[in-house]
Subunit: 244 residues, 2 copies
Amino acid sequence: MRNIKLTISYDGTGYSGWQAQTNGRGVQTELETAIEKAFGEKRRVAGASRTDAGVHAKGQVVDFKLSAPIPFERIPHALNAALPATIAVIKAEKVPPSFNSQHKAKVKSYRYHIVNSAQRDPFGDRYSWRLQYELNVTLMKKEAKWLVGKHDFKSFQASDTRERSSVRTIYKLDVRKKGNAIIFDIAANGFLYNMVRNIVGTLVDIGRGYSPAGSMKRILAAKDRKLAGPTAPARGLFLIEVKY
Amino acid sequence: MRNIKLTISYDGTGYSGWQAQTNGRGVQTELETAIEKAFGEKRRVAGASRTDAGVHAKGQVVDFKLSAPIPFERIPHALNAALPATIAVIKAEKVPPSFNSQHKAKVKSYRYHIVNSAQRDPFGDRYSWRLQYELNVTLMKKEAKWLVGKHDFKSFQASDTRERSSVRTIYKLDVRKKGNAIIFDIAANGFLYNMVRNIVGTLVDIGRGYSPAGSMKRILAAKDRKLAGPTAPARGLFLIEVKY
C-alpha cells in the first residue's frame, strides 16, 4: 500500500466545495469516485484545505492510499480520464506514511481577484468579484500591512466555527492593481474559516471609503467579527499552493 | 416602436447555441425571456450569427423592436438584471427600421484558441482546444494565406447545409503563437456553417504533419468537404465582432 500525494486544480463554480453537501457535489467525492473507476479501489481522500462552495483551486493538495501497482507518472492521466473536465490532477508523488495533506501543511497561499468595472463579463465574472465603485488601492495596500505577522484573527473568522485557536501567522499579504483588476496574494501557516474572504471584504470597505484609514489595526485588535467587512464572494478566491 | 441593436457577449458552454434545440436552451430564447421580464413585451430577437452549441461570443449583434419608452443607456442594465450571468448586454443603440443584424452584416470576425499542452486545465479548457502534439505554426500561417480572398469554400462547409452559394470573401486570416496558445483571427463577409472550425481543423492537420505543405491550396480547389480536416471543437471559438 502506497501513500500518494496529488496536486489538483478545479473550477469550483458547480461544486458545494471540497466536501459534498446535501444539495451539491463535492470535489472530494468526485476524486474518490474517479479513484474507484480508475483503480477499482474504494479510498478516502483527504484534502489540505476544505475549500468552500464556489472557491477554485490551482494547487490543492490531497492524499490517499493505493495498492494498485500503477507507476506514479501514469496516475494523473488515469484519474483525469475518470474525472469531470472541471477537475484536473496535475501531479502525483510518493509520500511517506506519515504524510498528511491537512496537518502537515506549512504554508497555504490564496489569491483573490477583484475586477473594477461596471460591465458584466460572462467570462471574467465567473472568476472574480466585480465592483463598480472606485477603490483606493494605495490605502488598501497600506492597511493590509497591519495583518502581516502572528495575530489573533478572530475578527476575520466566520462566526459559526468551532476552531480552538484563532491565532495564525500571515507571511504575506500583497494587494496590487493590474489593469482594471485588483489582485490579493495572501500566504499564512493556516486560515480560519472564511478568513481570506473576510479580510478582502474588510479591505474593500476601506478602499471604497466606508471605513477610514486606520480601521484595520482597530478591527484586528477588537477580535470581533461584527467590526470587519462583508465576506467577499467565493468565485474570486483561488487556493494557489500548499507547502510542506 | 423603436428598432434596437444590442451588442452582447456570452459564455456558450451551457447553451445549445444561438437557437434553442430540443435538448438545450438557446441564447435567443434567454434574451427574449429577459425582454419580456424587463419590459413586459413579447419580442422576437434576430441575431447576426446563429452561433453553434458551445460557441462563445464577445460581440454578437442582435436586433429587436421595443415600444417601452426606456432610455437607450438604461437598456443594458435592465436586460442584464433579467439575464443569467452567462449572457451580458454590452451596448444598446437606436437603429433605423431598415437595420437587420443578420442581412446587413458586412464583416464578421471570429477568434479561435488552441492551447498546446498535455496538462488538463479546468479554467482554460473551457475556452480552448487543448492539443498535446507540437504544431508547426510557421507552416500553418503560410498555408492559411491561401484562403484569404474571394473563394468557393465548399470544402470547409458542413455537409448538412442548405446554403445556396459557398462563395465568401475572407479579409483576414492570422495565425499567431502567444505563449503556449495558438490564436486564429479570421474576418470575412460571411461564413458557411462550421467554416471557421473546419478551417482550424484543417490547419491543425497541416501543423501536426498529417497533411503536407501545399495541402490548403489543393483542398480549397477540390471543393470537397471530405478532403478538409476535422471540425475543431466549439469551445475554442469566439464571435468577436460584427461590422455594418
